[in-house]
Symmetry: C2
Subunit: 226 residues, 2 copies
DNA sequence: CGTAAAAATGCTGCATACAAAATGCAAAAG
DNA sequence: CTTTTGCATTTTGTATGCAGCATTTTTACG
C-alpha cells in the first residue's frame, strides 16, 4: 500500500523533489482524516476541498481514490466519497489482526535485527519514555507508532510492513483522540519497557508475547473512545 | 483494498446497473494484471490503454491510482505507472504473512461458523475435488481461492478479510501461472481434505495448523514459478 | 394545510484541452 | 568515433467544460 514511511531525511544531494503533488495530496488528506479535520461520515466535496487545498478536482479525485483503496474513504457511486466511519467491532477486528501481525514482526525482528537496528529502537524508546515522563502525549503517540513501525521494518518483510502500516493508518485517528487515563498509560509504558528488553536480548518468543499482550490491551485502552 | 469480493451473485432484482464504471475498470485492469495480459515491469500507457478499453484517461488514471494503493502497480512520478514486479523474496514474505492471517482465520472461523457456513465450504470443497479429479486447473484454482476467502468471511472479521484479499490479489498472478506438478498438486488437495474435516469438526486448533502448513507448503509449490 | 409532483440547483462522473516534463534523435563539438 | 547539447515528439499532470444523476426547493392539487 505504498509504504507510508515517515518522511525521513530526503536524500541530501538527491534529485531535487520534482512533482510530488499526488503524494502531497494523499498525505495531506490522510492527515486531515486522522486528525479529525475531516469528520468520519462527512462527505468530501470535491470543489470545496479542491479550492481549500488550491488544486483542481482531477488530482484531488485521484488522491481520494487512492485513500479509498487504503480503506480510509468510502466511495458511493454518483454520490462521491465520505470519510469512513469505523464501528467498535471494526476497531476490535483491526486490533486482533494487528496483534497477529506484530507478534509475527516481533519474532522475525529478533532474528534479523542488527545491533544498529536495536540501538535505533532503544533510542526511540528512550525518547518516548522521556515524553511519557513529561506527559507529552502527542510526541509520545508519534514515537509509539514509530517504534512499532520500526520493528516491522527490522523484520525485513515488505508485505508485513505494508499491511501493518495500512491497519495502523486506519487506527491512527482512534488512537489520536483516545486519551487513555494515567493508569492505562502507565501500563502501556510498562509493556514497552518489556518490549525493548526482549528485543535487546533478541528473545523473539518473549517479544512476540509482549507485543501480543500490548495489542490485546490496546483494545481495553481505546474502546471507550469509540 | 475495499473488499474485492468475488463477483458473486449480483442481487438478482437489485438496483439495475448503478454507475459502476470505476469498479468495472479497476476489476478489468486487475484481471489484466493477474492474467499476465499486462506484463510485470511493463509501463501502462494511459492513452493506449484508454483507447483499448474505450474510456478516456481520467477514469483510467483513477483506477490506476486505486490499484497502486492496492500494491499491484507502482507509480513513478512524471513517468507513469508500471505493473509491479514481485521478487521471490516478496512472494515469500507475502506467503509468510498470509500464513499467519489464515491461521487466525481458521481459529476464528471454527468459533463463528454456522452449519450453513460449513455446508457452503463443504460444497466448494467437493466441487474443487471434482475439478482436481478431472484436472480442471482453472476452476480448481478459482474454487481454491473461494474456499480461503470464504473461511475469512466466516471468521467475521472485516479487517482480516480485507487484508487477506489484498495479499491474495497480489499473489494471484504467481499462482495463476504456477503449474505445480501432479505430486505437489495432490499434496495440496490432501491438505484441503484435512482442512474441511477440521472445519466440520469445528476444531480450530487443527484447522489453524493445517492452514499454516498449507501456506508454508505453498512456497515450495510456487517458488519455481518466479 | 399537507402531500406529491416537478422544476431548479448542485454535485459527481467522464471527456477534452492545455501545460509541463521526459524521452528519443540528430547534429555538432571534442 | 564518442559524447554532449539542443530540438522535436511523446507522455504525463492538471485544469476546465459538459452531461447525467441526486437532492432540494418550489408549486400545484387534494
Amino acid at each position: 500500500m505504498s509504504d507510508t514511511l515517515p518522511e525521513l531525511p530526503v536524500s541530501p544531494s538527491g534529485p531535487i523533489r520534482r512533482t510530488a503533488l499526488h503524494d502531497t495530496l494523499v498525505t495531506r488528506l490522510r492527515d486531515m482524516i486522522i486528525e479529525g479535520e475531516l469528520a468520519p461520515g462527512s462527505r468530501m466535496h470535491e470543489s470545496q476541498l479542491g479550492e481549500q487545498l488550491g488544486v483542481s478536482r482531477t488530482p484531488l479525485r485521484e488522491a481520494i481514490k487512492y485513500l479509498a483503496s487504503e480503506g480510509l474513504v468510502e466511495l458511493i457511486p454518483s454520490r462521491g466519497a465520505i470519510v469512513k466511519r469505523f464501528s467498535g467491532k471494526d476497531v476490535h477486528d483491526m486490533l486482533i489482526v494487528l496483534k497477529n501481525l506484530e507478534e509475527l514482526a516481533g519474532s522475525l525482528a529478533c532474528e534479523t535485527a542488527t545491533d544498529d537496528d536495536i540501538a535505533r529502537v532503544r533510542q526511540l524508546h528512550d525518547e518516548m519514555r522521556a515524553c511519557y515522563d513529561v506527559k507529552d502525549r502527542l510526541r509520545y503517540y508519534k514515537l509509539n507508532q514509530a517504534i512499532h513501525t520500526e520493528i516491522c521494518r527490522i523484520a525485513d518483510n515488505q508485505a508485513l510492513s505494508s499491511v501493518q502500516a495500512q491497519l495502523q493508518s486506519r487506527l491512527k485517528r482512534i488512537r489520536f483522540i483516545g486519551h487513555e487515563g494515567p493508569d492505562k498509560w502507565s501500563a502501556a509504558m510498562a509493556e514497552h519497557e518489556e518490549m525493548i528488553v526482549a528485543l535487546e536480548a533478541r528473545d523473539g518468543e518473549t517479544l512476540s508475547k509482549v507485543l501480543g499482550l500490548h495489542l490485546l490491551n490496546a483494545w481495553q485502552r481505546v474502546k471507550d473512545a469509540i
